[in-house]
């Protein structure tokens, strides 16, 4: 089985003497559903950031989808990110763009033509039950709706890896269930690797998952 993430003695820090993740060694296989839990400030979001290159390894090696993240060039990083779908806790939608265009963003970046991307966006908006909101702008939507838009955007370009940072943190039950079912669907039907950073693992998940817990800078595999 191919490994999507390989970390060897990985240390992460924002400042030189403030290590957040210390000498972690682990790997995540392709097609796995992974939860990373930990207390607030434990470094779980920092670890997720290192997977999409927003923070560079201080020490050790990190490889994502076969791309070495140590001193990665901008062009390589852009290439990698075009194959990753990211869901943020604060949604990170472009306020001046319509919902439809926001979902289309990864397709625009990957250079898909209007017809192909239009059909894909309509399909995804249908999955997140927001077809009727396509022409609206993010500030006109509720938090739950915005997160569903962010979820649709993360899936738009059929990524090999989905990274989700507290995707249901402040959401209502309905929006949370839509998000989890989409993540499960991507994992089971498309074999997409899903890595979710969260405080609590939801109950009733149908997919088998791996669970890492971060404590005092160490990453421990729980199950």
């Amino acid at each position: 089985m191919d490994k999507v993430i390989i970390a060897e003695n990985l240390s992460l820090s924002y400042k030189e003497f403030e290590t957040i993740i210390s000498k972690a060694t682990f790997s995540i296989n392709s097609g796995e559903f992974v939860f990373i839990t930990g207390a607030s400030g434990s470094g779980k979001s920092t670890l997720l950031k290192s997977f999409y290159g927003a923070i560079e390894p201080r020490q050790g090696n990190l490889s994502v989808a076969g791309v070495k993240m140590n001193r990665i060039s901008t062009s390589k990083l852009n290439f990698l990110r075009r194959h990753i779908g990211i869901v943020f806790q604060d949604y990170k939608l472009i306020k001046e763009w319509t919902i439809e265009k926001n979902v289309m963003l990864p397709l625009i970046i990957s250079g898909y033509t209007g017809d192909v991307s239009g059909a894909q966006v309509q399909k995804l908006l249908g999955h997140v039950k927001l077809t009727h909101q396509a022409g609206k702008y993010p500030p006109e939507l509720s938090g739950g709706e915005q997160q569903r838009v962010a979820m649709a955007r993360a899936l738009a370009h059929n990524p090999i890896l989905i990274l989700a940072d507290e995707p249901t943190g402040n959401l209502d039950e309905y929006s949370s269930s839509v998000i989890w079912s989409l993540l499960e669907g991507a994992n089971t039907q498309l074999k997409t690797t899903v890595i979710v950073v969260t405080h609590h693992i939801p109950e009733g998940l149908k997919v088998p998952y791996k669970h890492y817990h971060i404590e005092f800078g160490n990453i421990n595999e729980i199950s």
Binding site: K49, S75, F79, I84, L93, L105, I109
Partner: protein, 270 residues
């Protein structure tokens, strides 16, 4: 409204740079036209003890366009009644040769001095009169004005460039969120900053159009050209093809270069 204000600020700044460049060009053209006007009336007088051909003069200095001998017949005619035939014939033989030398441009006082020195190196030339003391005062004032305009143009260009840079920083802050989000999904630099470049290009075109319109009005109503005509200067202050293209090139150059600087120094949010 805020966005419109930002646009207007950049357009005004770009227009100021273009206007200062255009004013400098217009002053330069006016001086060139005045130089040509003065040149036609200006000549150097040479007194020589032998005859010179026009070619001999032109080889002495590249500034010399042509020369013509000054006839002494009129002077001798006036003396006919006062002198005997014999003395007049003797005087005619001993009179030096006079030449009027025309130059290919209106010289500066230094150039007149250099020309005089060059000509006087020839032993057959006895005297050169450059009339440097009557060198046109208006021309000197215009040269001074040109220098002042040049200094002002450079100062205005520097200050407005800083203003444009500041304006673009504001743009960067306004667009930073969108640029960061696009970067997170792997958008290359050109794609995430496309809006900035588009705005810069649009504003550069608008600034150029305003400049063209302003100079069209100045030209159409003869606001500057009529007073200049009165002092014998015929000049086209704004050339609608060359000047418009140059202004557009400057405007686009400044705005694109500054946008590029902003984009290059943009640091991605972690």
């Amino acid at each position: 409204m805020k966005s419109l204000k930002n646009h207007i600020s950049l357009i005004i700044a770009l227009f100021t740079v273009l206007a200062s460049v255009q004013i400098y060009v217009a002053v330069d053209r006016t001086i060139a036209a005045y130089e040509s006007h003065l040149k036609n009336d200006y000549s150097v007088i040479v007194v020589a003890n032998k005859a010179f051909t026009p070619k001999e003069f032109t080889t002495m200095s590249s500034m010399i366009e042509r020369s013509e001998p000054i006839s002494t017949a009129q002077v001798l005619e006036r003396l006919k009644g006062e002198m005997s035939e014999k003395n007049l014939a003797l005087l005619k033989l001993t009179l030096p040769k006079f030449y009027r030398i025309y130059l290919n441009r209106f010289p500066t006082p230094n150039e007149i001095n250099n020309l005089q020195k060059k000509l006087q190196k020839n032993t057959a030339i006895e005297r050169v009169e450059g009339f440097s003391q009557t060198h046109d005062t208006v021309y000197k004032l215009m040269l001074l004005f040109k220098d002042v305009v040049q200094v002002f143009s450079i100062a205005i260009a520097a200050v407005t460039s800083l203003l444009i840079l500041k304006e673009m920083r504001l743009w960067q802050f306004q667009h930073a969120e969108r640029m960061n989000i696009m970067a997170l999904f792997g958008a290359p630099v050109w794609l995430r900053s496309a809006v900035l470049f588009r705005l810069a290009i649009v504003d550069a075109i608008i600034a150029t159009l305003i400049l063209c319109f302003s100079f069209f009005i100045i030209d159409y109503y003869g606001i500057l050209t009529l007073p200049l005509k009165e002092i014998g200067i015929n000049v086209q202050l704004f050339n609608f093809v060359n000047d418009a293209l140059r202004s557009l090139a400057i405007s686009l150059g400044i705005s694109i270069a500054l946008t590029f600087t902003i984009v290059m120094f943009h640091s991605e949010e972690e």
